[in-house]
Symmetry: D2
Subunit: 378 residues, 4 copies
């Protein structure tokens, strides 16, 4: 319980089910005075949507965000922002079987036990990737807040799919190319190979996993509240909330385990009167605090568990083992669609910590610019 609330100050409350009425969020703690239009959110929601049928699900998600509260005259008011997308094109009949034939490596069986059989199992219910539409809504608000107040930009892209890894690219490449290809890779070359990998798996009725890398730039020094609410710890938790995430690493990450201190340490230097590190194996976070260098993290995603290939599961009504194919429509790879979700979770976490650190005030900029005189606020 209370598991559906994230953050201390930029607080995201998630609600909704895959095949229920809607999927949405309440954001409590967004400062007043942020200019916010529906389009600011819709853009990211559209990026989350499958771009075409070659590599993605055939469920049409024409998600249009609706803002129910917290915005007035084009600005956030400081009150909770409730926003959601309604569920349409839902074919719940596909999922009746799930109620007694849990899909392997899905949460079906474990949710069935945990919630005493009362959970909404249709399409995975609360455990569906569809829940991330809400994350993206909250993330879009967080991204706008970070960009307009601190100039922080969050950029994610697909680093690896099915063992194919993008090589030799810059952050600039990623920024430029990722949305020009349907796999969200930082280079066209990698995108093609990854796409082939997905299509091949799909052809076999199988699926593939991958790795998303995310970089955030223009962070101030000192975001993060050690010893427990470290920046990397909160980011790790936020990212693990994305269905399919199996691991998170920062900077050199698991590679750091095989390095020596003299290799891994980032020497300090002075550039333009500012203290910086000469390289960034730390990935922008040391001791749980942001260092001012680019924040670099990677999330590993498992291959989607819903595959057309026959699998072994159990029939709970008869308590016997059976072979079955997962019903419904699936993605052979969800990694490309997870790109805006990763950005969203990173942005939500950074916004929360920026507010905690006192770097974003409760009111962005009073109307008229001066809190002293109430006339200026009108």
């Amino acid at each position: 319980m209370r598991g559906n609330i994230f953050g201390e100050r930029f607080v995201v409350v998630s609600f909704g089910e895959s095949h229920g009425r809607c999927v949405g969020v309440v954001v409590d703690g967004c400062p007043a005075g942020l200019r916010l239009e529906k389009e600011d959110i819709q853009r990211d929601l559209d990026l989350r949507r499958p771009s075409n049928t070659t590599i993605s699900t055939s469920r049409k998600e024409e998600d249009e965000v609706e803002i129910l509260s917290g915005v007035f005259k084009g600005h956030t008011t400081g009150a909770p922002i409730c926003a959601l997308v309604w569920n349409r094109d839902v074919r719940s009949e596909d999922y009746e079987e799930v109620a007694y034939r849990p899909r392997p490596s899905h949460a079906d069986y474990y949710a069935h036990i945990k919630y005493g059989g009362f959970n909404d199992y249709r399409g995975g219910g609360r455990f569906s990737g569809r829940i991330t539409a809400g994350f993206v809504i909250a993330g879009a608000i967080a991204k706008k807040l970070l960009l307009e107040t601190l100039g922080i930009e969050v950029v994610a892209y697909v680093l690896e799919i099915g063992g194919v890894r993008a090589e030799e690219f810059t952050l600039e490449d990623a920024r430029k190319f990722r949305y020009l290809n349907e796999v969200r890779a930082p280079t066209t070359r990698a995108a093609e190979k990854m796409r082939d990998r997905i299509i091949e798996a799909r052809g076999r009725g199988d699926s593939v996993g991958g790795v998303i890398e995310c970089v955030a730039v223009n962070l101030p020094i000192g975001l993060g509240e050690p010893v427990f609410d470290t920046l990397d710890g909160d980011l790790a938790k936020a990212l693990m909330a994305i269905p399919g995430a199996r691991g998170v690493e920062f900077g050199a990450g698991f590679r750091a385990a095989a390095m020596t201190g003299s290799q891994h340490n980032d020497p300090l230097a002075i550039r333009d009167g500012i203290v910086v590190s000469e390289k960034n194996d730390a990935g922008g976070v040391v001791g749980g605090l942001s260092t001012g260098m680019p924040l670099v993290m990677r999330v590993a995603f498992k291959p989607p568990s819903s595959i057309a290939l026959k699998q072994k599961t159990v029939d709970l009504r008869e308590m016997r083992e059976v072979e079955f194919s997962v019903p419904g429509r699936h993605d052979a790879c969800i990694v490309p669609r997870a790109v805006p979700v990763v950005e969203a979770m990173v942005a939500i976490t950074l916004a929360d910590h920026a507010i905690r650190a006192g770097l974003i005030p409760p009111v962005l900029k009073p109307r008229g610019g001066d809190l002293e005189d109430p006339r200026q606020l009108l």
Copy 2:
């Protein structure tokens, strides 16, 4: 920030504005397996609605609750329950003036300053009594949960209005008569006097305050988590969230301050093999823990600040003092309508503490009754 979230385990998130699209809540932490129909909530919402135009606002609030998530096949699922009422019959034009002529003893001016002029001022926005429609939704769920699991019943009624106090009645009287009269008094006699008091004030363009008493019975011993999350402390906080509340007291309350220990102490005794207290000046809570005796508390409500009589305020555009009459429609007394709201806040707090104390499990009763065998859950 984060101020719109209440509770640790039965967590209520409030959203919406008086003249926005809707007013609602998300409840995170309601156990799975509670039978819940729209009607369970609608009943309390209807009680909150003005019963007629004699003593109440002329705004028609035909609030019909809509449940957006967390309920499946007639039961709660353990997932967050989002439910709301849409705003209709809104006359926002009445409130444009409020933006620059704050109503005395309303939050208008203070919210204007706090939120840098960005707050939705229409009808008081977040500070409107209308927000309590959401409290009542969450409270109705909490009341059902408490009654069905622990047999706890929460009963509030109007004890006093405009100095007229109900005398000589029993809890049974209150239970029986309060909804048979429009002021929600425990006796018909008191109801009539109170009604007269309201009508008289209304006739003068004025308003009156009052006191609501609330009793909860069948509490187990030991609800409350001292030293800070005491049962009375959390109740006091919950009740102060109701617009207009100015004070809260338990048992003998402020009267206790003038008593001696030998008068105030409740002697312990044994009745039917159970340890009880012979009287209940403690009001059912000692040391922050429920004692098993009836929980008794009172909330003082100020008279509504919106009155037809001319008042002095300031014009913020011109920064000068002006006389004005509060625009819009008002209640001459909101105490009767606050009765289900008081019950709601008490029930929410008790549900939260009952779950914290391990007395209500995460799943009320698994389908089939046996968690060991997954077949039984289907």
Copy 3:
């Protein structure tokens, strides 16, 4: 559980028992850079100590605060501050009987049930007034923080004892006289009467209750986070955590219930270019927000439950009703000693809300004054 933690940003964690090793707190969230000496805390601890034996307990509490963490070179560091007082002069043998003969109107019996017989019952354990030594430690830090950053001052005094009420005094009187008399009354005249009242009750082996009034001045507009974390709601919860508190009210409080709107409303006016209210029946808080006017609240305290007079209780070993006198040493009135405790709880709540509102930064003033250049911080 988690009941021993208060606050969102200036977070107080309480630990210790009346007859255990110590009583203390951890404060997480105190900004860095506050000059803090042991003496800043000791002063308030001394005020909490019984001044003489005429009206107070004979237990000698020579509490000397020890700061274990979070302070370095005379300033807070931003790390958690752990501070405590060690328990000395403990006569636990007095309390063995409590284990099976619960004292009426004490938490003994209810804690016994709640904690399954494992609670430390000696001297009331966690439910003892001694726990408030920790509150005072945290409160002293909060008071210093509020005064040095925002100029906020918190002043409490005894308004009423045993029905004797102080009349006709100013805040200035209270500030000046309260610590010049042992009952902490705002006038010498009231102090004498109150003292007589206590001595008389004590002489009869009885006890008396009272009311403490607390005023905080120099508050900015807008402290408080509605709709749930209202300033008055959080203050009410904080104050109810003080053992013996039975009710809390703000401004006109319960008296407001009998007023009309035209009487109770505080007209807005302009003084020196600033919007103020002409009177302060609101007690400085409207809609859960501070108004900038003096914050005024009152707490009712019941008479101490430990009295020498014979009382009826139950013997739990034999499950029969018995007469007994409460063993141990007691105060005939704890209200005077609660004065610094009330101030502490108010200051803790205000500090928490001031930080939440962004009015106190995480670092008070960097060494050298300029965060841009790390040299200045050395």
Copy 4:
């Protein structure tokens, strides 16, 4: 702020500094009735201590735990448990230079900026590995609680050091051998190679990193509170709080990204009437919920940043780049000492989630066994 508090129900509050008076914790929410002796904690603290000087620091940490509250007559009482170790053998003079010559890849510089120069920099202050002594104290309590109530056992061991990976071993091997060798490896063979690797690095004035694997067995199905408080998410956050952690993965982890769905999916089967998975690439957690299979996770640790080799840093007083060697005593590899710390953080997280899931009650087993009759509790 509030960053030093972890958990929702089994709540750990950390305090203390490397070279301050002490390092400790307050645990709020430990159920009453757990038998707890100092020795239960001391055992794990001793395992955290360097076993000899070959591979570890020369600072002698003869940490003896002191329990200050929350334990009475050999059992937890349900009140907050404060426990700490005092700091001895502190050579702070070694660290004065750190104040103006931040050690590369340490938090020195970032903490200096974040806390405005007020942080206790001696030995890294709050950012020192020494803080984990507190984690181990809380973890020892959590481990005992988990074992005695649910039979859950947590076993960590060193999987890899400086690129040397333990191969071909069972959990039984790990349980048996890890504390028979000073690197905490699961096999003697691996231990020797790892030891050589550490000694070689140390000889060069360098350091090495590594990977710890942790397995928890006997978990019930359904621990974890999606969508945000997932079991793996909270574990990831908890583990990232250990100084030096750079990444966390579950089950197949990053390897899963290169697998296909048909490879990665764990088929469901029935064994002895129970639904299990035939393999465990999920690592015991799916959809954020425990599956009942062994929970398997890995944490990557960077090589210690304190090395004897010359490094480049900046002198903040003179704002110029300098060469320097890190002063003080260091470990060439902290991975072996982090083994009990990893176990502690995992146990704390599991205890928290087990209580949240209602699987561990607030009172373990009332004295006498029957809550109905208060006599039995005596």
